[in-house]
Amino acid sequence: MPIRVKFFGDLRKKVQPDIKGSLPLKFNIDPDGIERISDILDKYNIKEDEIIHIFVNGRYSGLTKKVKNGDIVAIFPINMSVLYKWYFKREEDE
């Protein structure tokens, strides 16, 4: 079972530069070579300062959060940092 990824807003253009419409881009990625969120970003040449919210299975997460087969990962671009972020702590893994 692959990792299910959702990119929102302008982040979608990192995968499909000519993407139309406004729905999130959803796609599966092979977990080979993907251990953490940062690996997903690297795969699509996304810099840390280009993103803001990361959710792994609904948990607010950071770049070192580990991902595995079957996980659902949602990532939002920096200009969508509208959130009560003060109520959240990013989950990270060692």
Binding site: F8, S22, L23, G58, V82, L83, Y84, W86, Y87, F88
Partner: protein, 567 residues
């Protein structure tokens, strides 16, 4: 209103540094008996622009409205962004107090100019929707006035009636919505206020140099931050940018708070709405009041750009959409139009429809059925009169046990089981369940430091500091969304403080923000205590503690001791 007299009084010296929520809550606390009937002769409605409102300070066109709430039974401050606020401030009116109660069934209009205020008969607009009424009022009083109004729901003293203001297009779409203050205004016999700023002297600025320096710093911060800058998140997508985010967090309530996530939410997201507005020829971005840098507002229309509604905010899209399992922006748009036309708070209307659907008055997902419920209010039928009293009364009448309220007020668009910190704010704010009560400058600025896990129930300190900071910001006239920029860019907060000093001729420092906020909250909490509130009122409904919220399957497990430690 008892004798239909209006008069100007000099602002008492000890009120001189007050504005917005600071002004309304101080006056309500001093002048309204806490145990009075909210719809009786002793309650008052107080309007107050913020301290910098009406000046060139960016994103500051806010007005606060206060009184004792018929929905919560406690003190209430609701605020809105509108040029009405700026016009009132430029007339140098620090506060407007509506008091007394007109005997009989007549309704009146109050026109305010630099020379005075006078009443006129408003009976010809009774029973009419606010969209057509606003057109007629602007035709009669000129395009440059500001208009405040209460709608049909207030005529039946519905506790979910808001106080309406105009947007720049003259649409009745900007609301000081929460807490039923519209019913209080209507109970006195007042239907409209016309604010005419012709030859207004403008806001007095004690120190222009300090003021200009302050607003420059704030403008720079707003233009620099990715959330608040032109083409930033709020500017591009509006507040509904939160739909997808909160849904992914598992905290977007669906089907009357029975789930925290649903794939269909993406159909009603800010991104989809922005694209649709562009296709239709609506307006986005758009400002709610002149001088806003952020411009998160919009004008939603029917297909083809016809019949503008005004803004569809995140809370409205959620309340009238996901909460009722309606994942259709056109249906949501028409429900929002009905709310604006009837004078309803969209959040309370949405949570009321949610429990009404739970109780069998309509089916979940049925937009037309929901509109029929709105028509019951328009026709003032017995069912409509029950619905107009809001979520809690409607739920009880229908035998519903999942009633999402605190202190009688419907929950906003964040499920407290998934985002527990906001549940603490819902429970403890003196306003009743209110998301804006804890939406402000970050705890880091308040000296708390660190962040907290959304599902870690130790939230008292975070909630307290957010509430304190929000109360202070609500007094300034600045929009809460400035908080995004001033959180990350410290010179922005300095700019806000300097702009306040410029207007007031004061010497406030950043640390004073917390002191001001605490003073406001203390006044409000003390009023509620006199009104009979105890710690037992700072509790969330049982289902929030008992029913697991899919998909996280969390419950709200913050202890009573933790809640009681907030204040």
């Amino acid at each position: 209103m008892t004798t239909l007299e209006a008069k100007f009084e000099d602002l008492p010296t000890d009120y001189a540094a007050l504005g917005g929520r600071g002004m309304t809550s101080t006056i309500v606390s001093k002048e309204v008996p806490a145990t009075c009937n909210p719809l009786g002769i002793h309650n008052k409605v107080v309007f107050a622009p913020g301290i910098v409102t009406g000046t060139k300070a960016p994103t500051s066109g806010r007005i606060s409205v206060g009184g004792k709430s018929p929905l919560t039974g406690g003190i209430k401050e609701a605020n809105a962004g509108t040029n009405f606020a700026q016009k009132m401030a430029r007339l140098r009116i620090g506060a407007m107090i509506i008091e007394g109660k007109h005997e009989g069934d007549d309704y009146y209009l109050l026109k305010v100019t630099k020379d005075g205020a006078e009443f006129a008969d408003a009976n010809k607009w009774v029973g009419k929707g606010l969209y057509s009424t606003y057109k007629e009022l602007f035709k009669e009083y000129g395009d440059n006035v500001g208009i405040s109004a209460v709608g049909i729901s207030a005529e039946i003293l519905g506790a979910m009636s808001g106080i309406c203001f105009n947007d720049p297009e003259g649409l009745p779409s900007r609301y000081a919505g929460r807490g039923g203050l519209g019913a209080v205004m209507a109970s006195k016999g007042l239907k409209f206020i016309i604010m005419d700023e012709t030859d207004a002297p403008g806001v007095e600025i004690a120190n222009q140099e300090v003021f200009s320096q302050g607003i420059k710093k704030l403008m720079d911060a707003l233009k620099e931050h990715p959330v608040t800058q032109p083409k930033g998140g709020l500017n591009s997508y509006g507040t509904s940018v939160l739909v997808n985010i909160i849904n992914e967090a598992g905290g977007l309530p669906h089907r009357n708070f029975s789930r925290g996530q649903d794939e269909r939410a993406e159909k009603i997201s800010g991104e989809v709405k922005a694209e649709e507005i562009q296709k239709r020829g609506g307006v986005r971005p758009h400002f709610c009041s002149p001088g806003c840098i952020i411009q998160c507002s919009e004008v939603w229309t029917k297909p083809g750009g016809k019949d503008p509604v005004g803004v569809l905010e995140y809370e409205s899209v959620w309340a009238l959409g996901a909460n009722c399992e309606i994942y259709d922006l056109d249906a949501i748009g028409e429900l929002n139009r009905a709310c604006n036309d009837l004078g309803l708070d969209t959040i309370e209307a949405g949570t009321t429809i949610g429990v009404a659907m739970e109780g069998g008055l309509a089916k979940f997902g049925d937009g037309k059925g929901a509109l029929k419920l709105m028509d019951e209010i328009r026709k003032k039928t017995p069912t409509g009169r029950i619905l107009a009293q809001g979520t809690e009364i409607t739920g009880k009448v229908l035998g519903v046990t999942r009633i999402p309220t605190c202190k009688g007020q419907g929950f906003p668009a964040y499920d407290p089981r998934a985002i527990k910190g906001i549940g603490v704010t819902y429970a403890t704010t003196p306003m009743g369940a209110d998301h804006t009560a804890g939406y402000a400058i970050a705890p880091e600025i308040m000296g708390v430091g660190g962040q907290v896990d959304p599902r870690d129930p130790k939230k008292a300190e975070v909630s307290r500091n957010l509430q304190v900071a929000t109360a202070a910001l609500d007094a300034t006239g600045y929009c809460l969304f400035t908080a995004f920029a001033i959180l990350d860019i410290p010179s922005g907060l300095e700019g806000i403080v300097e702009s306040l000093n410029g207007v007031l001729g004061a010497n406030l420092v950043v640390d004073d923000v917390a002191v001001i906020g605490k003073q406001i909250l203390d006044v409000e909490l003390e009023f509620n205590k006199r009104a009979g509130f105890t710690a037992l009122d700072d509790r969330l409904p049982e289902f929030i503690m008992e029913e697991k919220l899919p998909p996280s399957n969390e419950v709200f497990n913050v202890t009573d001791d933790e809640l009681d430690s907030v204040f």
